[in-house]
């Protein structure tokens, strides 16, 4: 589904991703953990080219993102993304937030987009909030709307960039619940998070990143209970 080959990313002289290679299968849930500054968010943002790539290759469903003739907008419709800061559109109601892309990008009729939007709101438990503005929602509600908005494009892949890091602790659970449901339905997911519990429970595989490399990767139980690398051990001893 996603194939990353020797991916490199620099900001000026700063080499953030040194050489990343990884393959993610359909329906797999991959959790990326690591200390801040390890490059995990940058890695995620390279998967839909929100960051330009300095070297190497990213393939989504066998389509090379940086190849000539690749329509990146087309690729992005198949790769949803959820941000730490939600990034809802404040000038639109909750429902309009969700309907915008299907209507403008997929050229759906209003009625079809509205039905899809309301169905998604029901799914994330916010049906009654359809016509309010994002301003009046709590952080957890905003993030659930953001997930619904991404799902409206019916993507096959979802990227989560620290989706619960900006939330008050009592709201983390409601967002993780929605994500768990998605995983159960077979969504291919890449999740950058500090929620080790989520990684253990939902992840099929955990990548530990540090210093621009994937230092260690394994199924959650093995990585958490029996880390092989010193850096992994050091990190886990601090966060667990």
């Amino acid at each position: 589904m996603i194939k990353v080959e020797r991916l490199k990313k620099s900001f000026g002289d700063l080499e953030v991703l040194k050489e990343i290679s990884v393959e993610i299968k359909p329906q797999e849930v991959v959790v990326v953990i690591g200390p801040s500054g390890s490059g995990k968010s940058t890695f995620l943002r390279c998967l839909n080219l929100l960051e330009s790539i300095t070297g190497g290759k990213v393939m989504i469903k066998d389509q090379d993102l940086t190849a000539k003739g690749t329509n990146i907008n087309q690729v992005r419709t198949n790769v949803g993304m959820v941000f730490q800061q939600f990034n809802l559109f404040p000038h639109k109601t909750v429902l309009e937030n969700i309907m915008m892309s299907p209507m403008k990008v997929r050229k759906w009729q209003r009625k079809q987009a509205e039905e899809k939007g309301l169905a998604l709101l029901r799914k994330v438990g916010l049906y009654e909030k359809a016509h309010v503005y994002p301003d009046s929602l709590s952080g957890g509600q905003k993030q659930r709307v953001a997930i619904a908005r991404a799902l409206a494009m019916e993507p096959e892949i979802m990227l989560f960039d620290e989706p619960t890091s900006a939330l008050d602790p009592e709201m983390v659970g409601e967002v993780l619940e929605v994500m768990k449901d998605l995983a159960k339905e077979g969504m291919t997911m890449v999740v950058v998070t500090h929620e080790m519990g989520f990684a253990k429970e939902v992840g099929d595989r955990v990548l530990f990143m540090d210093g621009g490399y994937i230092v260690e990767e394994n199924v959650p139980i093995a990585l958490f209970d029996n880390p092989q690398q010193e850096r992994t051990k050091a990190f886990l001893s601090k966060v667990l």
Partner: protein, 219 residues
């Protein structure tokens, strides 16, 4: 010099009102053309390609960095005769006001666009929108609200600056004020009347802009 002569005001009032119409017309034209050109220039001004960005930056530098008075003379006596057969001071005035306002409005648009959080563009692009779609449906509607107060300022300045058209004999409000002064060698009657008419125009514009701002605020 004697008491205030209401007779002079009465005699010239029709001309002042006609001049006020010209002032309003030229200002509206300047605002309209300046806003359209300013939008494109404001967007071009933040382009990633230097060969788009730099000409705009220098256009803005030139028009913000030189007096409008100088611009109006250069355009009326220099530029317009180069491109048009017959020279019309009103056309020169509108062209000057438009080109000048473009520079200021471009900066207002740029600041408005850049004041919107980067995450908005990223969210829009991550949903598959093109850059143009993201600008049109996500960035500009939000930026526009924040641009209203500085735009209002610019419109008021522009309306007052149109009085410089008098120097090239564009028949706007100040032109008639000078005409009355020239005929009777009186200062208070023509200039005070003209000042009050300008004040009425700018206050009306202020109320209109406040109204628009309130309307957009609740939307």
């Amino acid at each position: 010099m004697g008491v205030f002569s209401i007779e002079i005001v009465r005699e010239y009032l029709p001309f002042f009102l006609k001049g006020a119409m010209v002032t309003v017309g030229a200002s509206l034209a300047g605002i309209l053309i300046g806003s359209i050109l300013g939008l494109f220039m404001g967007i071009g001004r933040i382009s990633k390609s230097w060969w788009i960005r730099y000409p705009f930056i220098w256009y803005i530098n030139a028009f913000r960095g030189t007096p409008l008075f100088v611009q109006i003379l250069l355009i009326h006596f220099g530029l317009i005769p180069l491109i048009m057969e017959s020279v019309n001071p009103l056309v020169s005035l509108i062209v000057t006001l438009s080109l000048n306002a473009t520079a200021y409005i471009a900066e207002i648009f740029r600041a408005g666009i850049q004041s919107i959080d980067r995450g908005q563009m990223e969210a829009a692009r991550s949903l598959g929108m093109t850059h143009v779609q993201a600008m049109r449906y996500v960035i500009l509607p939000q930026a526009f609200k924040r641009m209203i107060p500085p735009l209002g300022n610019e419109f008021i300045v522009l309306l007052k600056d149109s009085s410089l058209g008098a120097i090239i004999a564009a028949p706007e409000l100040m032109y008639w004020g000078r005409a009355a002064q020239g005929q009777y060698y009186r200062v208070w009657e023509p200039y005070l009347t003209v000042a009050i008419i300008y004040l009425i125009l700018t206050l009306s514009l202020t109320y209109l802009l406040n109204y628009i701002e309130r309307r957009l605020d609740t939307a």
